[in-house]
Symmetry: C2
Subunit: 228 residues, 2 copies
């Protein structure tokens, strides 16, 4: 699977969040593609879409919406006959949104400072996904990056990698993704002591996977029961 990150930010250079993500995205099978003020090359953009199976829109939520450059990109690149309609060649994609904001997520609800939920505000992109027959993934919301601790930022890197590269959703898919990451690290390492430690962790996770999966189901069932 190949992932295309389409990055749109009116002040990219001043954005700590975007700089952080650029320095921490997984290089393998992931293409970082920033939209700049230059003329959009439609053929190039369409070729990029063709070459990737997962498409990510990454942007800050200014005025409850995507940036102007990304709106223009939609008008120019997602043309009838290419992306949808008779003779369309693009086909289905997985679609994700990495959205950042300065307010806490809790303000995005009825009665909160921003009044509407992030799901409500991103509806135009959900409608786009619906029209294009792209599968809409739960957005990765990055709120108040500037206040995050080092630990929270490390956690964000993990979530980001997962969002960009994990195949499937749910607990099992997550476990498989963790194991694959550990296996890669083991291969890449040339320190036998580190390798041994990572192998131990991996063996532990693999040994516990069945048990953890069962535990996960049980917790879900308890939660469901509590809600009724």
């Amino acid at each position: 699977m190949k992932t295309l990150i389409i990055v749109a930010h009116p002040n990219f250079e001043d954005s700590a969040t975007q700089q952080f993500l650029q320095h921490n995205y997984p290089q393998e099978d992931v293409t970082w593609h920033r939209l700049t003020d230059q003329q959009i090359d439609v053929g190039h953009e369409q070729a990029l879409l063709q070459a990737h199976t997962r498409i990510i829109f990454q942007f800050p939520l200014y005025w409850y919406s995507m940036p102007a450059i990304l709106r223009e990109w939609q008008d120019l690149v997602l043309t009838a006959g290419f992306a949808y309609g008779r003779g369309a060649t693009l086909g289905a994609k997985e679609f994700g949104i990495v959205v950042s904001m300065g307010q806490p997520v809790a303000e995005y609800q009825a009665g909160g400072k921003e009044e509407y939920t992030i799901s409500e505000l991103l509806k135009p992109l959900q409608a786009m996904a619906h029209k294009l027959n792209w599968q809409y993934a739960k957005p990765l919301v990055i709120s108040q990056f500037q206040y995050m601790t080092v630990h929270q930022r490390l956690q964000l890197v993990m979530q980001y990698h997962q969002y960009l590269t994990q195949v499937g959703t749910g607990f099992d898919a997550q476990q498989a993704w963790y194991c694959a990451q550990l296996q890669k690290r083991i291969k890449a390492s040339d320190d036998s002591e580190v390798q041994a430690k990572l192998k131990l962790i991996l063996a532990q996770i693999q040994a516990n996977t069945d048990e953890l999966t069962e535990l996960h189901w049980t917790v879900d069932m308890i939660r469901d029961a509590e809600e009724t």
Copy 2:
């Protein structure tokens, strides 16, 4: 009351809807202001906002959203300290949206071709109005203009004038608006026969206003009773 229409369309010259609206908007107390590809003059735009009490965004719904130029306008013009936040000088406005689309309105609902309602898709603008303390009016939706009959287009002109200039909402406000329009026409006409006819219509409406208002309330009550 003064109304500012901010028109945004990526292909204005090719839009029959926009051309029609431009040729049919009421000149009195209404400013037609089209955003073009030229650099946005922030000071000029802010002065325009200051000088009007009702602000209208007029655009086609491409990709379920407003055009890029209008998004850029938001970022540049609606600045902290001017439109919102500490020291903001702009103050409250009435806010309306005139939105056009090629699909029938009925397709904008769950199960319809477009899946989501126009209310859902315009949520980012509703959120903007909420943040700015602007009063959000029910949008004027223009669907499939190219298929409208002459009669429907005349009706649209009436609705458009009303949307731009009517004070208040509801039946009484509508009646008052009709009467004011007739009075203006009577004053403007130099044909005594036309004047006499208009005066007759006006007198008829005015004589019936109390009765019509009462009738309107009764119908509303019957409807409410039917719904319960």
